[in-house]
Symmetry: C2
Subunit: 151 residues, 2 copies
DNA sequence: CTAGATGCAAACAGTTTGCGTCACT
DNA sequence: AGTGACGCAAACTGTTTGCATCTAG
């Protein structure tokens, strides 16, 4: 948890004004265990700033993501992608054009846990995403990449 | 690629009527490399059945997913989930309540490829999702799980 | 003949945008 | 003082639903 002035510095380092809303939104996004949804963050922020606008929360989250202060859990939040391959398998995912190519399970050596899984979690299967740049995108100049549909 | 009557059998095995639309939608969802979006599937289907309704496509995709004929690429399509942990790490994902818990990278033995990656793909990082049932959900009776927000 | 499927339009949820006003720097 | 942030409402995208009609079994 950052102090008030560490937070200011962090924002300034990224060229962002250190507004009150922004600070509270950032803190709300960082509360453990992370992975919050915009709605959940909005709810937390409203407890401290009852008048915040949901749009402000969205604008800030996008700003944070764009400058790397936050990440996103999945590149494919947004629209549904259907999975036609019924076999267990993994994915090569292009972070630029979001395309997905299957990788047969046997292409990867088995995943090994170093310790027992925490939290009474009962694992059923393991899905590996290998994130990178696909052939088409590394040929294509960066500027010409299609603007992602949304999000 | 299934023949017409194999397709009929497949549907009947799942208690689904073998309508013309359904067959075409299924085939459209299965065209390689898979992972199509509903819009993309709709576009393919319209080439064969110009009058299809987008709603019919959505209804069928949901039906297919519900009965296991199709999967979905990510459990988190739908709404954005923010990632507050800047360190490379993996995820334990509950397939029932969609909750996410981080797993430190060092908890997993390094991922090893058995062969070179295909397609000129330039890998940058590997994200592992361990899918299963979280402690809370394995205690909680199945019926009481919250209806997922959407999708 | 009947349960279930389709098509249409309207409803929704999540997210973004335009614009006037306000606040950091 | 000027640039960027905020708040509001309206616009948009992706998805679902209600209902009348049609069709496979």
């Amino acid at each position: 948890m950052l102090t008030h002035s560490e937070l200011r510095q962090l924002f300034h380092r990224h060229g962002l004004a250190a507004t009150h809303q922004r600070q509270i939104i950032y803190e709300a996004a960082m509360v453990p265990p992370g992975h919050a949804s915009p709605e959940a963050i909005y709810d937390r922020v409203r407890k401290k700033i009852p008048g915040v606008s949901l749009a402000t929360v969205y604008k800030n989250l996008r700003t944070f993501i764009d400058c790397g202060l936050l990440g996103r859990v999945s590149l494919h939040s947004g629209s549904l992608r259907v999975e036609s391959n019924p076999e267990p398998h993994h994915h090569l995912v292009c972070i630029r054009c979001k395309s997905i190519v299957d990788l047969e399970e046997k292409e990867l050596a088995p995943i090994r846990f170093r310790h027992k899984l925490p939290y009474g979690f009962r694992a059923q299967r393991v899905a590996v995403d290998i994130l990178g740049i696909c052939k088409a995108c590394s040929v294509r100049p960066r500027a010409s990449r299609k603007r992602p549909t949304r999000r």
